[in-house]
């Protein structure tokens, strides 16, 4: 389980590097963020939430059942809009309002 950072989208703002609780993301010579320790990702998705240009997606490794889908999130005000994209490009979204408490 880890993250994928798209260099074509990354603007090198370093927000993900700053936030990662494991110090796993670094800046490369082209000024783009890359995950240096990809096996060491905890899956907290802090970097996804920091990224303003939707360059980072999260995925499950095949060893824990991953089959190529990715998860990403964009924030609009109080809403977190989560997006799951499967390998066929089909997208499913789930919206969570930060002001709503969990029912469980």
């Amino acid at each position: 389980m880890s993250i994928r950072i798209r260099p074509d989208k990354c603007v090198g703002c370093k927000r993900c590097i700053e936030a990662c609780p494991g110090n796993l993301i670094k800046l490369n010579e082209q000024g783009k963020a890359w995950i240096k320790h990809e096996k060491d990702c905890w899956g907290c998705t802090s970097c996804l939430k920091e990224c303003k240009v939707d360059a980072i997606a999260f995925f499950l490794g095949a060893d824990i059942g991953g089959r190529g889908s990715t998860l990403s999130v964009t924030q609009k005000g109080d809403r977190n809009i989560w997006k799951v994209e499967n390998p066929a490009g089909e997208i499913q979204t789930i919206e969570v309002n930060k002001k709503d408490a969990n029912k469980y």
Partner: protein, 562 residues
Amino acid sequence: METKKIHTDVLIIGGGTAGCYAAITLGKEKDVKVLIAEKANIKRSGCLAAGVNAINAYITEGRVPQDYVDYCKKDGAGIVREDLLLSMSERLNEVTENMEKLGLVILKDENNKYVTRGNRNIKINGENIKPILADAVKKQENVTVLNHVNITDYIVEKNQIKGAYGFDVNEQVFYEIYAKAVLCSTGGAAGLYRPNNPGFSRHKMWYPPFNTGAGYAMGILAGAEMTTFEMRFIALRCKDTIAPTGTIAQGVPAKQLNAKGEVYETKYGLTTSQRLYGTVTENREGRGPCYLGTKGISSEQEKDLFKAYLNMAPSQTLKWLEAGQGPSQQNVEIEGTEPYIVGGHTASGYWVDNNRETTVHGLYAAGDVAGGCPQKYVTGALAEGEIAAEAILSYLQTHKEVPEEDAVKAKEKQQEYETYLSQKQSLLTIEQAEESMQKIMDEYAGGISTDYQYNESRLKLADEKICNLMEDCKKLSAEDMDDLLRIYEIRERLVVCRVVIAHLLARKETRWHSFAENMDYPDQSEEWLKYVNSRMENGNINIYLRELVTGGMAYEHTDSTR
């Protein structure tokens, strides 16, 4: 390496739940200079990085703090400090209300009362709980935050704290920090044992893999007394994603089922360790895999579960969606994790007094590093941060002298860092060292592969092998500061491993199934209703047995117990 020297009144090591709340509490005294040293960034560091789904320690209406103490005592089979549990429990509701004022969303009913889940839990949206705490810290004028600085050792002289040493995890900077009082709030230790998913997803674990026991190790190396490291914590989790099960088990609610569809939880008992032991036993006896019975829940319930997991463990929601089958169509497979040392769930950690002061003068501990007080969860860690902060304020009233700098010792520590940065790569790599440690602990000290069971012969071999590995790790080489961070994360875990092994050896009974499954002594014994404590003295780990501190008693340090 450049040197940065800092003087402060209070140094907080680790800006997680307890550390941040202590800083907010200390923020009320504007004359006191406070510094938080954090190895990542307090915005998302520690246990709450992804968020949290519920407040699990709260005194609900009709209950009193003593009820919470009684619950913890039962769950820990008596090996808890009732004085610590009570002082924590008395503050659980107050810190919850404070968190709500800071911006935490808590579910309320039509009468404006918190909606409860069972006897001790309330429902929240905790996705942004860590940014909320971090924002509150930033508002304190007298608090400075040093992000991306990893602390490795205390400065202690004649059992008196003077500060700590560390380094910047990106730049070649050595930190020499002097403080009148220090609060250790670094969290517990993950990554000691081989994890559930040892390959690509090796860090898909319950506890934050970045909590590598730094606070424990620093205390152990400084000769502080530690307690109950043999009470390991092993979580019962959703298989593969290692996501929480409580949300489903208590929220839906769902029962634990074996492969035949039989409810087995009632056969083994309902304490935390019994629920786990039941699952391990069902698997061993051929009735696995085990599940939480969710099949048949409504689509409404399923949608709420998708959202709940996005707020704390997003991988579980992704797993359901990717499989094309949610919990309404298939039961959720469960498994036990590798063992962790974590004083916010079990009772492992520093031996502290009611002020949360350790046996080192002026050194305090709060949250997962502080022992004797299990089931803290989020609110208990906040409460301990507050207790320690208040105690530090009164300590500073009588300890005003500025600690004297010690250039010789500082130089030695800096040279230790520089040695790793300059020495040539040996055959042992950082990666290999970690794998080796986890394999030793797994096979010889009761990991997943032995169903958490161990005996004296295996433990003695474990200690020998860990000691050899510690010796070999002195030859590790760091190309940059990032490597240096990872070398120290291994060093601290190896120190913790030795103490875990010593404690497992010392308790000659099986008080908690799975958490400490001693095959030489498979039964519980009245004789062992006592604490197993330890101190590192001249490189040896010496065990001290202490009498229980039960209801109405309060433990205080004296010159002879320091």
